[in-house]
């Protein structure tokens, strides 16, 4: 992973012009901080079974603090080098998570979720109201070159920041991985599985959750610090609900049941956000539908799906699934094409056309004011769905046959 991370920017370098690919570096940087953020969210959701809607608050607060540290450094009033600022941001996140965690972890399940939601709303309001600290709607801007560097690097270049992000992402990931194997981490799992029983082996589940919550705030803060260093601006978006929702999205789609799940989710969602947003203005619809589809059909996420195959792979029966999988592909593509067609035409008819753009769909330029294209797209979607259901049933049978006599994988 580390090697990949180090090499990645060079793969996309434009050697002909001796130029780095700025877009790619920006995307990989974003992935790094999102991996940290998603992993820290999974300390709550996957490890402790806590559904939080305020995780961005600790991320954003870390970011705001770093913005102030940097600005103070500009005035000569701050001494930490840039390399250590993410840690300072983490400590700020930790401090805030101690305060809010004390409030939220007294409650369980729905009440807990509601309180975190309230905290998230509160934070946005505070960020807009208290201009002195949060800079109001326009946020706080800063300059990362204000801080001195341990290694004499000026961080004027995106690639330098990217490497800083890699190092901190790695440190944070190692830290969170280590935590999973400690008494606290294991008891967080235990309290998730059976809140009551934990009490009868001597633990106060509220204390377990409180500490877990606080520590997850530490890592979210680190991610927020990296965010501020990268973008040199922090606005109230960084503490707001959509970003908290994003953490949930990344962890869930990747799979909350394993450590690698949120990592994969963060990479995928960031790639979708960067890549898809270039191709389509309705990209957020696709991410939303992906989320709904995952919740409905694959609640264990991507890594959960992969893990479910382990017994089949071990028994050497994976080949039996090749054909059923291949047969799923075509109807899936048809559904996708139909759906994308409908969404894009709709979005074009409502917004795009007035902006004077032309619609380019799979290399075609359909007339959105004629009935034909709509009918074709709708037919593709419906036929695709019917076909998919048929194939899905076959697949289920093939899967059951492959799993016959094998024990399904367990969680941890």
């Amino acid at each position: 992973m580390v090697v990949i991370g180090l090499v990645l920017p060079w793969l996309f370098r434009d050697y002909a012009h001796a130029r780095d690919n700025g877009f790619m570096i920006a995307m990989f940087s974003q992935m790094g901080m999102m991996i940290t953020f998603a992993l820290s969210y999974n300390m709550l959701m996957g490890e402790a079974g806590l559904l939080s809607f305020c995780h961005a608050v600790f991320f954003g607060f870390g970011g705001y603090c770093v913005a102030h540290f940097l600005n103070a450094a500009g005035d000569g009033g701050f001494f930490l080098p840039l390399e250590l600022l993410p840690l300072a941001a983490g400590l700020c996140g930790l401090g805030l998570a101690v305060v809010f965690g004390a409030m939220a972890t007294k409650q369980r399940t729905t009440a807990f979720a509601m309180i975190t939601f309230g905290i998230g709303e509160l934070a946005v309001t505070a960020a807009i109201m208290f201009k002195h600290f949060f800079g109001g709607e326009s946020g706080i801007t800063t300059d990362r070159t204000n801080a001195w560097s341990l290694f004499g690097v000026n961080y004027g270049h995106g690639l330098q920041v990217y490497y800083l992000i890699i190092v901190w992402t790695l440190l944070a990931a190692l830290g969170m991985y280590y935590l999973r194997g400690t008494p606290l981490g294991r008891m967080a799992n235990a309290c998730r599985d059976n809140y009551e029983r934990a009490q009868f082996v001597g633990y106060d589940p509220r204390m377990v959750r409180f500490i877990q919550f606080a520590l997850s705030g530490l890592f979210a803060g680190i991610a927020g610090g990296l965010y501020c260093i990268t973008y040199e601006i922090v606005t109230y978006d960084a503490v707001a609900a959509p970003l908290s929702g994003n953490a949930l999205l990344m962890a869930f789609i990747g799979g909350v049941g394993s450590f690698s799940g949120p990592v994969i989710g963060a990479i995928l969602i960031t790639a979708l956000q960067s890549g898809l947003s270039l191709m389509s203005s309705s990209w957020i619809v696709y991410v939303g539908v992906l989320f709904i589809a995952m919740v409905t059909f694959a609640p264990t996420g991507i890594t959960g799906i992969l893990r479910a195959h382990t017994p089949i792979v071990r028994s050497g029966r994976l080949r039996a699934l090749a054909l059923p999988y291949a047969r799923l592909l075509l109807p899936c593509l048809l559904v996708l094409a139909g759906f994308v067609g409908l969404v894009e035409m709709l979005s074009f008819a409502t917004i795009g056309a007035s902006e004077g753009k032309t619609l380019n769909l799979f290399g075609l330029t359909p007339d959105v004011y004629a009935v034909g294209p709509w009918l074709i797209a709708a037919a593709a979607l419906l036929v695709g769905i019917a076909w998919l259901r048929l194939e899905a049933r076959r697949f289920q049978a093939a899967w059951d046959a492959a799993m016959a006599g094998l024990a399904p994988v367990g969680g941890r």
Partner: protein, 250 residues
């Protein structure tokens, strides 16, 4: 740890308007194996819930040696050395069998809320968990998710988790219910072994087990103690015959 004595004084518990436990006074001597019997719905489990802190008493006091425990939350009572099992199996179902046992050991081994110890490197702790695993005959199922165990295996795990922490007072709620004859025998042998020198309070429906294992038997009927004494006395008691044993003997 020295075995404690347990004292209930006029304990009452109501759910809404209905009084389920109606003034139970009971003394369990240190190191005694005490059986609690009674017909279904008599309130045996409710009494366990009161002693272990799961429910608050409506009135009355409960003491462990000289310490009032009726006002304490469950985890505090557990830390004082009182551990209980559940009639309806209560385990960490997504953790492996081994992890279930290790979690049950953690607090008593002083790990508290540590987030700096690496569990993999705590050899004394891990050996202890492995030993327990052998003891409850689940060594072959070490890494299986606890929720996937068979019923009898889960019951064995339940007992293992209860005795793991080395509590000096142990409450077992129908530990052998639903087990086959051989499984019951193994479980009883295990209980006998691990409760040596400890105080045991056990709910049990199997009369052979009760008369075999218990030093003292208390009969609870409709939320009240109707008799308490040695197995011989209980067998001879008219009241018990009528209220309880009679039904089974007939």
């Amino acid at each position: 740890m020295k075995a404690p004595s347990l004292h209930l004084n006029d304990v009452r518990k109501s759910f809404g308007a209905t009084e389920i436990i109606r003034g139970v006074t009971l003394d369990i001597a240190a190191g005694e194996r005490h059986a609690l019997i009674g017909p279904n719905g008599a309130g045996k489990t409710t009494l366990f819930n009161l002693i272990s802190g799961r429910f608050e008493v409506t009135s009355g006091t409960i003491r462990l040696d000289d310490t009032r425990i009726d006002t304490l939350p469950p985890h505090r009572i557990n830390r004082l050395g009182l551990s209980r099992s559940f009639q309806i199996t209560s385990i960490f179902h997504r953790l492996s069998v081994f992890e279930n046992l290790r979690c049950s050991l953690l607090w008593s081994r002083g790990y508290r809320y540590s987030f700096w110890h690496s569990l993999g490197r705590q050899s004394a702790l891990n050996e202890e968990a492995e030993r327990l695993l052998e003891e409850i005959n689940l060594a072959g199922r070490r890494d299986v998710q606890a929720g996937l165990l068979s019923y009898a295996e889960q019951r064995a795990l339940e007992i293992g988790m209860t005795v793991a922490g080395g509590a000096a007072a142990i409450l077992l709620d129908e530990p052998t219910a639903g087990m086959s004859n051989t499984e019951t025998e193994q479980a009883i042998a295990l209980i006998r072994r691990v409760t040596e020198g400890r105080t045991l309070l056990m709910v049990e429906h199997d009369m052979r087990v009760v008369f075999d294992l218990a030093d003292t038997i208390t009969v609870l009927v409709y939320g009240q103690v109707i008799a308490s004494g040695s197995p011989v006395e209980i067998r001879a008691s008219r009241a018990v015959q009528e209220a309880y044993l009679g039904a089974e003997a007939a």
